[in-house]
């Protein structure tokens, strides 16, 4: 599956497209299919997101899990600061 991500323009927070808006939690992200680029442009133009892009993910019982480790760390927060985690249940290293 494909999900859309970027950073909040004002705060810089990592955010994910939910179909209706943006969430800090990847668990709320939705499949964007072939619409990712168009959504990204519209949302960037509306200043609701900065530097949006589409990432590949797999669907899991806990929601989308990015295929690339960089995106999994973006979704979880720094792995060395559990106190700052957004979601420390995200597996960083795939089994």
């Amino acid at each position: 599956m494909k999900v859309l991500t970027g950073n909040d323009l004002a705060s810089g927070d990592v955010i994910w497209w939910t179909g209706k808006g943006w969430s800090r939690h990847i668990g709320e992200a939705v499949e964007v299919g072939d619409e990712g680029e168009a959504i990204a442009k519209a949302e960037a133009d509306a200043r609701r997101v900065n530097v949006p892009y589409v990432v590949d993910a797999e669907a899991t019982a806990n929601g989308p899990l990015p295929l690339h480790i960089k995106e999994r760390i973006r979704a979880s927060g720094p792995t060395v600061r559990a106190d700052l985690a957004i979601n420390n249940q995200i597996p960083i290293v795939k089994a």
Partner: protein
């Protein structure tokens, strides 16, 4: 230390207001990200993995207590309560909001600090020896020269859009504590026939094509230095490659032209520049030098230190260095606690250290490229009181230059360029060598980790270096041996196939065990490696 004059302050204040307007326009949508990106980068504001990151310049790593306190207050007010000291003697904040960035810069400006030229293809923060002005072995104080270069390079119109970023380092001791020869230009102050001048090296650097900078001139007179550096930059600016980012650093130009041809062109340019009278008048260097005059040292102080407390004695042995002035010592503060994050400090720790700077170190502190801190003016009689306050704040690790004093870049935990995490590997190594009790036996061993080929963690210059790479979406760690950023500068060599996170820790224990078994009297790990060569280490690792 140097204090801003009205011109310095006016420039920095104006830049804050300019950025405030730029950020407001970006937030209002009248500037696109494409247009805004170079503007924010000129002010040190990056967009990293999780958020905006601000890199603040600390000129030649020197701060007053007031400046240090402000850095701590900023960590609490604008960030998530901590900050990261970098391998270029700077500080980074990981969680900055664009809407608050201008206020942060205004707070910095209130203590004569900024984030200008901490990004982009310009001359970056000038780095230097963390013991400048207090080391017993220096021929002159490098800080006035570093400050002169800072002023010359700030907003230098000709060098605002170089082919690539440019880093300059100034030292003044035969012992190189600043990795001078791994800079685009390295300057070593030397004394010849009683006259101080500069040995100039050019074309050093790490990154994907590491090179040890060759000597370009063995002596440049004091009043020629700015012209000579200008000539080095001008040749680079004219001929450095702009068509390929990966071949754009001066090291590639010097390598491709050859040292002799690069030197010839620099000398030709230098002869021309000297006709333009660009060097500042001696009076200006004297004005700057006055800011770095020795403080009013107390005399008649005792050199005795009561070492009856074993924990204190261990700290003194590892962290305290000889000072040029009787009765005083240089105290290194480790930012490498076991299980900690190399170079990180909390807002509370930074503010405490600011207090200690004022109370114990004549209001001055230094940041080292090894991501530690230095109090350069501590009375020996006050070391014990200082140590007790550091220990109470978790800042009394006694591991300077040992295997747990690891340089590590932020890696994939924070950096959008990284391919692998650095910090967890550093933590596992530190935990292994603390629990196995071998750290003290191994002695000096500089271990440096980078999470990508850009080498912010200086892995090429580690006695042991680790490079994190992405192997088919999995973190993999290459092992390098034999590097040094010191006066015996050398580049590490890769041992062979890489390892996973646990495997690299095992491999490091294997090579250090071989060292412990094979070392001769007085040899450091690096010395044993150089005597034996790669083969036995490779055999021990891979069989």
């Amino acid at each position: 230390m140097y204090l801003y004059d009205k011109y310095d302050q006016a420039m920095v204040d104006a830049r804050v207001e300019e950025f405030r307007d730029q950020a407001a326009r970006r937030l209002a949508g009248t500037l696109t990200e494409e247009a805004f990106r170079p503007l924010r980068l000129m002010n040190g504001l990056y967009l990293q993995l999780h958020a905006y990151m601000l890199r603040v310049a600390i000129p030649y790593g020197t701060l007053s207590g007031k400046q240090m306190r402000m850095l701590g207050q900023i960590a609490g007010k604008y960030d998530k309560g901590y900050a990261h000291f970098t391998t270029r003697q700077n500080i980074q904040y990981n969680w900055i909001k664009l809407e608050e960035a201008a206020n942060l810069l205004a707070d910095l400006a209130s203590v004569e600090m900024h984030a200008i030229q901490t990004s982009g293809n310009c001359i970056r923060n000038i780095s230097s020896d963390q013991y400048a002005g207090v080391a017993a072995d220096e021929v002159a104080d490098p800080r006035p020269w570093a400050e002169l270069l800072r002023q010359w390079s700030s907003f230098h119109p000709e060098f605002s859009y170089l082919p690539r970023k440019f880093k300059i380092c100034v030292i003044a001791s035969a012992e190189d504590r600043a990795a001078m020869r791994l800079h685009d230009i390295g300057i070593e102050l030397v004394k010849r026939d009683g006259v101080v001048g500069a040995r100039v090296f050019a074309g050093g650097g790490m990154g994907r094509t590491p090179m040890v900078g060759p000597e370009i001139r063995d002596f440049v007179a004091e009043d020629d230095l700015i012209s000579y550096v200008e000539a080095c930059l001008r040749v680079y600016n004219r001929y450095g490659r702009r068509d390929n980012k990966y071949k754009a650093r001066i090291k590639i130009l010097v390598h491709e032209l050859g040292v002799d041809e690069y030197r010839r062109q620099v000398e030709e340019e230098f002869a021309h520049i000297k006709t333009l009278n660009l060097d500042p008048p001696v009076a200006e260097l004297d004005r700057i030098r006055a800011y770095f005059a020795d403080p009013a040292y107390e005399t008649g102080l005792s050199d005795e230190i009561d070492l009856s407390d074993p924990a204190f004695a261990a700290w003194v042995k590892q962290q305290v260095v000889a000072h040029k002035q009787p009765g005083y010592a240089i105290a290194n503060i480790s930012l490498k606690p076991v299980s900690g994050i190399p170079g990180d400090a909390s807002a509370e720790q930074i503010e405490l250290i600011a207090d200690l700077t004022e109370r114990y170190s004549l209001d001055e502190i230094r940041v080292t490229h090894a991501q530690n801190l230095v109090l350069p003016y501590v009375k020996k009689a006050e070391l014990y009181a200082l140590w007790k306050e550091l220990a109470a704040a978790g800042l009394a690790s006694a591991n300077l230059d040992l295997i747990t004093d690891i340089i590590a870049c932020p890696g994939l935990d924070y950096c959008s360029l990284a391919n692998a995490r650095s910090i967890p590997v550093a933590q596992k190594i530190a935990e292994r060598f603390t629990s196995n009790g071998k750290e003290a036996a191994i002695g000096e061993l500089k271990l440096k980790i980078s999470g990508c080929i850009n080498a912010c963690g200086h892995h090429h210059a580690g006695h042991i270096g680790i490079l994190g790479v992405d192997r088919k979406g999995t973190e993999n760690y290459q092992l390098l041996l034999g590097g040094s950023g010191a006066e015996d500068c050398s580049l590490g060599a890769i041992t062979g196939p890489g390892f996973d996170e646990n495997g690299i820790v095992d491999a490091i224990e294997t090579v250090t065990d071989l060292y412990l078994d094979q070392r001769q009297e007085g040899e450091r790990f690096l010395d044993t490696y150089r005597r034996l060569g790669m083969a036995p280490f490779k055999e021990a690792i891979y069989g």
